[in-house]
Symmetry: C2
Subunit: 287 residues, 2 copies
């Protein structure tokens, strides 16, 4: 496994690998502090491609003022160990100076589907994501890029960008990975105090309850489902709801209260963001 | 020469050509109605690359409301003849439906250097340019892309985009091509009535006068040069000045009135946009 820190060296390494037939190329873009969710992306990439590139970059331009850019957890040594164990070929770890040698004037932005859910709570967040991801795509030129479905909106936004800009890349969304007790894996889980961690189970539990209520016919409309989710989450006294939404995926058109889940064309995303203390967690499920 | 109208066919043709060693790839992106200026780009591309792709696409999203999208001159048969004569390998002529099968939600935009000159007179214009150019870059994956310096700001904006987004493409700016009497070639010259065409010579003449005044020390400051340009252009009664500017290139920071041209770091762009009747013409020179 090669650890590479500059764009030039990465390009030359990738040229050599593709020249010697190590294609297709897969990219797993991450912010590091890797967990089993990231590992599942690397495994999928290992399965589908001949050159697996893992990028680790805590991207400042996707954090808003007052968000956790400074304190975002970092542990390079542990990340490299995990990447090695998963058979990654190249780890690309640029500094901020490598990625943004001068202040960046160019922005890639996706309209409409970024204006709700996490886009509403985190203005500018998705512009930062699409800009850095398109930059990583231009650097690595992957045939496949792997993203976790925990950030379902991110997957929808990136698929929209790839389609709109005719990028020759296949996006591979990978399922959410959970702890045994249901909590969706997130690098931010490390922030949780023990009692917050315990109460955070209400996220996956509420989604599970919603799935069951839909399956049994107990709840039919988007309004009923949103209410059920809110009621369940509110059982946890430390939970501070940011949003609870039911929307068509991947278009992300929110369903009206009276819309029946079963009438929606295609898949419906139930998505939620909830704060526990200073930690904002997200979770979702596709119906 | 192959004439290709779909993205899929273009990709497969380019894959074959690069597989058989016809690299590097050069792209000459145009809106058609080709003239000797475009021909000079094709010749440069022919000289530097093994696969020359000419794209012809009148891009609706770079025209503002009330601009000349509908009436922009088109002549495919003549364009193909010229491309063939210049030894182009592939002409890519997509329809609007091919380029924008659904309304595009993604935008590539460059801040700051798009807010003055043509960016000020044509709000949104450069967003349309950078978006379609980045799309063409993703489709063709050129090693080199060729742009005329008549649109000097466009060159600066695209170079900024390429640098900011780490696109692996070298931009090759090519000199302005002029008629024997000095008028910069433009597809829009065809709009000019005979008297407008005659008076339009004031553009190149004013730039020439400015160069001479700087060379002889007759004019030193940006304020004097702008005044000289304005005075000269105003000698043509049909000329309606949109802007007259002196700015550092390619950063496009405008010089202050009291700034000496000779003190500027690097090159100074003298740029102007002038309307004759309904036709807006641009011209510029680099000092």
């Amino acid at each position: 496994m090669k650890v590479i820190r500059t764009i030039e060296e990465l390009r030359s390494e990738l040229r050599e690998r593709t020249r010697s037939g190590h294609e297709p190329v897969g990219l797993v873009p991450t912010m590091g502090y890797l967990h089993e969710g990231h590992a599942s992306l690397m495994r999928k990439a290992r399965e589908m491609t001949q050159t697996v590139v893992l990028s680790i970059f805590v991207n400042p331009i996707q954090f808003g003022p007052g968000e956790d850019y400074e304190t975002y957890p970092r542990d390079e040594a542990r990340d490299l160990e995990l990447a090695r164990a998963e058979g990654v070929d190249i780890v690309f770890i640029p500094t901020v100076e490598v990625m943004y040698p001068q202040p960046i004037k160019t922005k890639v932005s996706v309209a409409d589907i970024t204006s709700l859910l996490c886009g509403a709570s985190r203005p500018g967040h998705f512009d930062g994501v699409t800009t850095v991801v398109s930059k990583l795509f231009h650097i690595v030129k992957p045939d496949y890029a792997f993203f976790g479905m925990k950030d379902a909106q991110q997957v929808a936004v990136i698929e929209q960008m790839v389609r709109d800009l005719s990028m020759d890349i296949t996006i591979v969304p990978c399922p959410i990975v959970r702890e045994a007790d249901g909590l969706a894996l997130s690098s931010r889980n490390v922030y949780l105090k023990p009692e917050e961690r315990r109460q955070a189970l209400v996220l996956s539990r509420s989604l599970q309850k919603a799935r069951e209520a839909i399956a049994s016919g107990q709840a039919e409309t988007a309004g009923q489902i949103r209410q059920l989710l809110r009621d369940t989450i509110s059982e946890a006294p430390l939970a501070d709801i940011d949003y609870v939404e039911a929307a068509v995926f991947p278009e992300l058109d929110p369903l009206q209260d009276e819309d029946k889940i079963s009438d929606a064309e295609g898949r419906v995303l139930l998505a939620l963001a909830v704060r526990f203390g200073r930690t904002r967690l997200i979770d979702n499920t596709l119906i």
